[in-house]
Symmetry: C2
Subunit: 200 residues, 2 copies
DNA sequence: CATCCCCTAGAACGAACGCTCTACCTAGAG
DNA sequence: CTCTAGGTAGAGCGTTCGTTCTAGGGGATG
């Protein structure tokens, strides 16, 4: 079937992509060890044969690809939030608001797409660790650019970007575990306040 | 053998406690699904029979108890850091320094004792969720008290305490994944700066 | 029509999973 | 001594795990 669409029929997303999406979603909710390949193939409506055809590296390769998927997903949200206002404080709280909305909408199930898997595989699955490191670097760069655009010095922007990411990460974690938007909103306000001290 | 010590022999920590300690350590490093009961019994030098004797509720009850153990462990560190200086800024950075030291000393293996398990079991193991919620509340209360002692208003103290905890959580996560103390140190400085804006 | 290759299909493997169960050991009470 | 009971010991249950492997389906090309 290749990638060609027969006539005007269903352009059903390709098998490979369905597998990646399903893996990403399942890893986000159940973690690495808690997710089985058979469950993935079931959820993706693909067969075991297809999974291993596209990902001969097995579970690890599959997880690494899913992490890359989650990376982009989070980056999109980050860009949307940070680009939503000229005012830096508003831009940052827009991020926490977006995260809170998505988290609540999923009934507190969908936190950060990669945290759980990243933690479980630390120090024992280099392929995954690599993808995780790239995701963090990517997010950090997005934030850093926005801070510089707001007139914050290069050095401060770099350091602050890291703190912004890890604070968002921590706040989303807390919000998910407490089943409450409050930790995200509070952190958003506090982040905005912190950043405002760099532009008098 | 009960709890009585025969003469002046080894007061070898009781079997139950060995099991809890081993579980806590393993959950911290491998997460909930990644840790097997048989591995726990092996590591704790106890038999499967003993494990189920002390924890008839099985893996979930065991994990909940281990979370409580990790709760206290983190609380001790928090109290040590926060009590190390009259100056609030110094007290906070003392916490991040302590966390960074322990993290590095374990070769980036021992992050927060409960995060991984908490994330994996969210929404599917009420006994564990309960223990997790109590831990977070406990830590938050410890920080809140210190902020009030520093002269920050009750309302601000409550909100800030939550942010402090989740920032520490996020920074430790980032540090562990990046194998670097830097995220923790940066967050410590930024937290100190944020808090200083509440006491002019 | 035949040929090719990408992809699908799922049975089967050994290992590990959480948990149950019976048997046994041993210290203290009577 | 006997009796009791808290604790130890590990074989074994049914299930699921990640992975391998062989066989077949079906457009595109000759």
């Amino acid at each position: 079937m290749k990638t060609a669409v027969k006539s005007a029929e269903k352009p059903t997303t390709g098998t490979r992509e369905r597998i990646v999406r399903a893996t990403s979603r399942l890893l986000q909710r159940q973690g690495y060890e808690g997710t089985g390949i058979k469950q993935i193939s079931r959820e993706a409506e693909a067969t075991l044969g297809s999974v291993y055809h596209f990902f001969p590296g097995g579970k690890q390769e599959l997880a690494a690809e899913a992490i890359r998927h989650g990376d982009e997903e989070f980056a999109v949200l980050l860009r949307a939030g940070l680009g939503s206002s000229e005012d830096l404080a508003e831009a940052v709280t827009a991020c926490t608001t977006l995260l809170a909305r998505e988290l609540r909408a999923s009934d507190w199930q969908d936190g950060c797409p990669i945290t759980s898997t990243a933690l479980e595989t630390v120090g024992r699955a280099p392929v995954i660790e690599q993808a995780v490191a790239e995701a963090f670097a990517n997010w950090r760069a997005i934030v850093e650019e926005r801070l510089r655009a707001a007139g914050i010095g290069p050095e401060d922007s770099r350091e602050l970007a890291g703190t912004v990411i890890s604070t968002l990460e921590g706040a989303e974690l807390a919000a998910q575990l407490a089943r409450s938007e409050e930790p995200l909103h509070a952190s958003g306000r506090h982040l905005a306040r912190l950043l405002s001290t760099y532009r008098p």
